[in-house]
């Protein structure tokens, strides 16, 4: 048995397609997402340069103080530069600044285009206008609380900062990466495909030769599934470690708690591959196509390409994502790390376990065959 496991493991880790699809591809996609979506927070919320043109009125002091407080806030969004009207206009034209605040009794804003920076400047101005009286009172009575008052009245916070309900991860792109973990689990189907090809005498000459040997059928099935599950679980650990230690993604503080979902997800991926490969008389290309198609559709519905898709499915066809393993894995990880909802996490795990048992049973009933109708 040891020799079966050893050589089966060696053969699989040297098979390019079994290294590429279940491991390299998710790593590459994660990296690509990290540099595109993952960095969206930083790129979209770069400090916005803005000019302030002073008219030397009484009200300007309050507005200047307000802007200074916003500028010096921990989550500083703006870089305020005092300029003359001409300088500001020239800077706006050149694109050195995104807008010009004109102070005075009724401060105003001029922007050079439309986009998130301009919207934020607009919000800052609206916050001031709406809370001007309050600020005047605070400035007069408790100037030391000016900063707290500005923070309270600013309603641009949600745009720039999202705090989880559970108070854990605050990474707004986490769900993309949870969906990615779901997809990576399902890509274990490639390992399952190879296992089925090596197990079923009607699928390959190699399997036929193995089946003609005096090894008990259960010995084959056990050694193949042990190797395949272990290998894909290692793949998933590598992916998680890559996310945590290399990309330093703040997806979770509960990596150990994530393991049950990842283990069951890996088993579902591998077993799905074995099941699809073992059934029907389709060609190898068709079976691989089905595996990729099923995995990608499930991952898409789980929000891999666009988080809104998962939300839309959850709203309109909730049952679909309750039977979609990629969505369940993603949801379980989200519950664990963002919602801090252990009950729903357990519910996801139970559904995944049931799916895993059903797939394993179906696959076992097919691959336990020892004689075939045709080879």
């Amino acid at each position: 048995m040891w020799n079966l496991i050893k050589y089966s493991f060696l053969a699989k880790i040297r098979d390019f397609s079994l290294v590429f699809w279940p491991l390299v591809f998710p790593l590459a996609l994660t990296t690509a997402m990290y540099f595109s979506i993952g960095q969206m927070d930083e790129s979209d919320f770069e400090i916005i340069p803005v000019a302030v043109v002073s008219h030397n009125t009484e009200d300007e002091e309050l507005f200047q103080k307000y802007l200074t407080t916003v500028e010096e806030n921990d989550n500083a969004l703006i870089d305020v530069r005092s300029m003359t009207e001409e300088e500001a206009a020239a800077a706006l034209k050149k694109g050195d600044i995104d807008g010009i605040f004109y102070d005075g009794e009724e401060p105003s804003l001029t922007v050079g285009g439309s986009g998130l920076p301009q919207s934020i400047l607009q919000m800052i101005l609206e916050s001031y206008t709406e809370g001007k009286q309050t600020l005047e009172d605070v400035a007069a009575l408790h100037p030391e609380r000016m900063e707290a008052a500005v923070s309270q009245m600013s309603d641009y916070g949600p745009v720039t900062e999202e705090v989880s309900l559970g108070g854990r991860t605050t990474n707004t792109t986490a769900q993309f990466f949870y969906a990615m973990i779901g997809m990576a689990c399902l890509y274990g189907c490639f390992i399952g495909y190879r296992s089925a090809m090596d197990l079923q005498a009607n699928l390959s000459a190699l399997a036929a030769r193995r089946c003609a040997s005096p090894v008990h059928r259960m010995g084959w099935i056990l050694s193949e599934t042990t190797v395949s599950f272990s290998l894909h679980f290692i793949n998933m650990l590598i992916l998680l470690a890559y996310m945590k230690y290399i990309l330093r993604l703040e997806l979770t503080s509960a990596y150990v708690e994530m393991l049950p979902a990842v283990i069951i997800g890996s088993m579902i991926g591998v077993t799905m591959g074995m099941f699809i490969t073992s059934i029907g008389k389709m060609g190898e290309g068709v079976k691989i196509g089905i595996m990729i198609g099923v995995s990608m559709v499930m991952s898409f519905l789980a929000g891999l390409m666009n988080a809104d898709v998962k939300n839309a499915v959850d709203r309109n066809v909730p049952l679909l994502n309750r039977i979609n393993p990629a969505a369940l894995i993603s949801d379980a990880l989200y519950c664990l790390n963002v919602y801090d909802a252990p009950e729903r996490y357990m519910q996801d795990i139970v559904i995944l376990s049931v799916m895993c048992v059903l797939l394993l049973t179906g696959t076992f009933l097919i691959v336990r065959r020892e004689r075939y109708g045709s080879i």
Partner: protein, 309 residues
Amino acid sequence: MIRIENLVKRYGDILALDHFNLEVKEGEIFGLLGPNGSGKTTAINCMLALLKYDRGSIQIMGQDMAPDNYEVKRQIGIVMQDVAVFEELSVHDNIDYFCSLYVKDKNRRKQLVEEAIRFVGLEDYRKIYPKKLSGGLLRRLNIACGIAHKPRLIILDEPTVAVDPQSRNKILEGICELNRQGSTIIYTSHYMEEVEQICTRIAIMDHGRSIAVGTKEELKSMIKTGETVTIEAVILGVDDLADIRNLPHVFDVKYEDQRLVVRCIGAKHNLIHILGCLQEKDIPFGRVFSELPTLNDVFLEITGKQLRD
């Protein structure tokens, strides 16, 4: 060693084995000869308990063959028609892997693997991966994986397909050597020359049936053709052909593109009679060949078609 009785195997409407019977004695090199699609591989897969069949019985080494008859399976070596090795394992590891399915003792296995490597002449390729081997070397590896555990019965299903002549000779010599070492061999092929060269008994298969069984001499004696004379670059008229057809022992004459093929029953002086007839008529001719009957002639006479049709 093997007894198959009335084996019937259908693939839907296609009858792959039609009451197929076979008896192989211990120590034989038994050839299964037949064109592609004649049922050779189907018969082998039934013997190995890989294929379900509709009717009949298979006994190997005195026991009914079944998927869980591990005692019998342990004594069988199989060399598949398609190369069946791990692309990702080296030559040594492949042989070790397949040997380990039969032999548990590590030291014994080590010795057997080395013997198998030497036997097929792959000493210089131990650490090479299959994809870097030529077709011939790959076939040798395929054989080594099937025979390393020194089985009592070795089944080789067309092991020389797409193999260069050098490797083919090496393989055929190896098969004879395995037989000398005590293994019973079943060898399937559609190359009649190979079967004639190494097999002690032969079954000719067609449409899932065994249409003739015996030694090559016995098979050849079953047919009318004893000698085939071919004469090239000869110009003949209708009367000339009629005269040749009337010669003693001649039973079939074909003339096409100035090439005369005369088939005679086995007798002395057939060639002299034919050449004498041409000389009498002062007819010039080119090259002359005289051939004894082949298994293809046997197949041709029994089925009315060529082995490779």
